[in-house]
C-alpha cells in the first residue's frame, strides 16, 4: 500500500538522525538529538548528595526538568517530566549511589513532531556522556496510525495532528552480541521485545496497537545501531567531568 507522506518518505522510513555528545562545557554530561527538524538538548548534572523529601534514600534518585521552547511550564511539561523520569529510572542502576540525586535537564530546541521520543533519546545519550551507570540503553520511537490503517513511523507535527492515533514507545537496547542466547528470555520472548514505556493518544483498535508495537521494535533496531555508533568518544583524551 503506497502512502504519500508530505516529505516523500515511505511508511517505514525515519527522518535523518543526528546526535552529538559533550556539547555543553559546564554540564557533567550533555547531548543533543535531532530527528529531522525536531531537536532536543539534554544536560545531566550529578550525582549530587541528598534526595528529595518523598524519595527513597536507599536508592539514587533522578530528577527531570523539562524546559519548553516557548511559554510557561504547565501540565504537559509536568507530565513529560514524570514520564522521562520513570523511563530513566528503569534504565539506571539505582543501587550504586544511594542517597544521591542526578538532575537531567531537557531543553526543547525545536518541536516538529515526535518530541517525547526525541527527548528520551537525548536524555539517554546525555546519561552515557556523564558516565552514569546504566543497565542498558533506551530507544524511543513514535508510531502513528494513518486513516487507511497503515502504520507510519516518526511522524512530523503536521502528520501527528492529522492522524487519528499515535503512540510513543520506548524499547530497551541490550548488547545481545555479548550475552549468550538463552539468558535474556522472559517467558520465551527475548527481553528486547518488551517495552519500557508506552504513551498513546487517540482511539485505535487493540490489533492496530500491537502492529505499532511490532513496527516500532523493528525500527528501534536501526536506531539502536545508530545510537551505539555515535556514542563512543571521538577524542579519547577527553576525561570525565563528574567530580
Amino acid at each position: 500500500m503506497e502512502i504519500d507522506r508530505v516529505d516523500g518518505r515511505t511508511a517505514n522510513q525515519l527522518r535523518p538522525l543526528a546526535c552529538s555528545r559533550n556539547i555543553l562545557n559546564r554540564a557533567h554530561g550533555s547531548a543533543s538529538w535531532s530527528q529531522g527538524d525536531t531537536k532536543v538538548l539534554a544536560a545531566v548534572y550529578g550525582p549530587k548528595a541528598g534526595t528529595k523529601k518523598n524519595e527513597n534514600p536507599e536508592k539514587a534518585c533522578i530528577e527531570v526538568i523539562w524546559k519548553p521552547k516557548t511559554g510557561q511550564i504547565g501540565k504537559p511539561e509536568k507530565e513529560y517530566e514524570m514520564i522521562v523520569k520513570r523511563t530513566l529510572q528503569s534504565i539506571c542502576v539505582l543501587t550504586i549511589n544511594p542517597n544521591t540525586t542526578t538532575s537531567v535537564i531537557v531543553q526543547v530546541v525545536n518541536d516538529d513532531g515526535s518530541l517525547l521520543p526525541c527527548a528520551i533519546n537525548a536524555a539517554c545519550a546525555a546519561l552515557v556522556d556523564a558516565g552514569i551507570p546504566l543497565k542498558h540503553l533506551a530507544v524511543a520511537i513514535c508510531c502513528c496510525l494513518a486513516d487507511s490503517g497503515c502504520v507510519l513511523l516518526d511522524p512530523t507535527k503536521l502528520e501527528e495532528q492529522k492522524t487519528k492515533a499515535f503512540a510513543y514507545l520506548v524499547f530497551p537496547n541490550l548488547t545481545l552480541s555479548i550475552l549468550p542466547e538463552g539468558s535474556l528470555k522472559v517467558e520465551g520472548e527475548p527481553v528486547e521485545q518488551a517495552i519500557i514505556t508506552s504513551v498513546t493518544q487517540g482511539a485505535m483498535s487493540v490489533d492496530d496497537y500491537l502492529r505499532c508495537l511490532e513496527r516500532g521494535r523493528a525500527a528501534s533496531a536501526k536506531m539502536s545501531a545508530f545510537l551505539r555508533r555515535s556514542l563512543p568518544l571521538q577524542n579519547p583524551s577527553d576525561s570525565s567531568k563528574a567530580g
Binding site: 530513566l88 517495552i195 498513546t200 482511539a203
Partner: protein, 302 residues
C-alpha cells in the same frame, strides 16, 4: 517478642504488622505466591465500586465515585462563551483535577502533589481522544455562542488507582449533566432561563428545555501493576508505592483502545503482559458499564 502465651495471638499479629512495615516487598511476595493479596482479593479483581450521581446539587452535573477507598467528586458547571474562530460550531470542555490536602498525608497545603497535573493531563487527553462527547452538541448559535463546560474533579481520598476513579467520576458526571435552558434576550445575548421567566413572550428560547448530552462509547479504565510474572489489577496506594510499575489501559464500550499508558518503571512489559492487561480491562469495562447504567436508571426513577 517476649509476650506471654496467653496473648500469643497478639504477639503474632504484632509481628505480622511489623513484618509488613519492615519488609513490604517480601510480605507481598508471600501473598502473591498464593495468588492472593493482603486484602483478600484475587489478583485480577478490582475493589468494590460505587457511583452516586447528583452529589453536588448546585452543579449542572455531578457524581461521586468510589473505588475501594479512593473517592473522587466530579462536578460540571456550564457557562456561555463565544466559540473560537477555528471551530465556530463547537463548545469547549475544560477538565481540571485537584488533589487537596484532605486526600492523603503526603499532600501538604501550598505544595501541590506531583500526581495532580499528570492525572489532569491524562484525563484531558483520554476524554479528547475518545469520541464520547461530541463538542458540536455544546454549540448554541453557530459562531456567536457556545457552552463552556468546566469539569472539576476533586480527590477526597487517595488510595491508589487515582486515574481510574477520576475517569469514572468524570464519565458519570457527564452522563448526569443536564444542559440548562437558555434564551436570547433583547441585546442579542444568551441568558439562562430561570423558572419565573417561563411566561414572558419576548424571550425566544434557543434551548427549550433542559437536555442531556448524548454519550456515544464511554471510556473506562483499569490500572494494573506488573511485578515479575504477576499482574495485579486495581492497586491500593501501598501496593503502588512498593511495586512501582503501573500500566493503565483505557478501553471504550466498542472495544477501541483509547490509551495504553505505561510511564516507565522497573519492569518491562512484553506482549503477553500487555494482552493480559487488556483482557482484564475488557472484563472491568463490562462491570463498570453495568454499575453506571444502574446509577443512571436509579436517577431516572425519581
Amino acid at each position: 517478642m517476649g509476650l506471654p502465651d496467653a496473648s500469643g495471638d497478639l504477639s503474632s499479629e504484632v509481628e505480622v504488622h511489623a513484618f509488613r512495615r519492615l519488609f513490604p516487598l517480601r510480605f507481598y511476595e508471600r501473598h502473591l505466591s498464593e495468588s492472593i493479596r493482603p486484602d483478600g482479593r484475587p489478583l485480577g479483581r478490582a475493589r468494590d465500586t460505587t457511583i452516586a450521581l447528583g452529589a453536588v446539587a448546585s452543579a449542572d452535573g455531578s457524581a461521586l465515585a468510589k473505588i475501594g477507598s479512593t473517592t473522587m467528586l466530579a462536578a460540571i458547571k456550564m457557562e456561555v462563551m463565544t466559540p473560537s474562530m477555528e471551530s465556530p460550531d463547537e463548545g469547549c470542555l475544560a477538565i481540571d483535577f485537584h488533589m487537596p490536602p484532605i486526600c492523603s498525608p503526603i499532600v501538604r497545603p501550598g505544595r501541590p502533589a506531583e500526581a495532580a497535573p499528570v492525572v489532569s493531563k491524562q484525563l484531558s487527553d483520554t476524554i479528547s481522544s475518545s469520541v464520547m462527547a461530541d463538542l458540536k452538541e455544546l454549540s448554541l448559535v453557530s459562531g456567536k455562542a457556545a457552552w463552556m463546560a468546566y469539569l472539576d474533579i476533586y480527590c477526597l481520598d487517595a488510595d491508589g488507582a487515582l486515574f481510574d476513579a477520576a475517569l469514572l467520576s468524570a464519565v458519570a458526571a457527564l452522563s448526569h449533566l443536564q444542559i440548562p435552558a437558555v434564551s436570547l434576550n433583547e441585546d442579542g445575548r444568551v441568558v439562562v432561563v430561570s423558572e419565573e421567566d417561563e411566561g414572558k413572550p419576548e424571550k425566544e428560547p434557543v434551548n427549550r428545555e433542559k437536555r442531556k448530552l448524548t454519550l456515544k462509547s464511554i471510556p473506562f479504565s483499569l490500572t494494573c501493576i506488573l511485578h515479575k510474572n504477576y499482574i495485579l489489577a486495581d492497586p491500593t496506594a501501598e501496593e503502588e508505592s512498593i511495586m512501582e510499575t503501573l500500566v493503565t489501559v483505557v478501553l471504550d464500550s466498542s472495544s477501541q483502545l483509547i490509551s495504553l499508558y505505561k510511564p516507565g518503571g522497573p519492569v518491562l512489559a512484553n506482549t503477553s503482559a500487555i494482552q493480559d492487561s487488556i483482557a482484564l480491562t475488557r472484563q472491568r469495562v463490562r462491570e463498570l458499564q453495568k454499575i453506571l447504567d444502574e446509577a443512571n436508571s436509579g436517577m431516572e426513577v425519581d
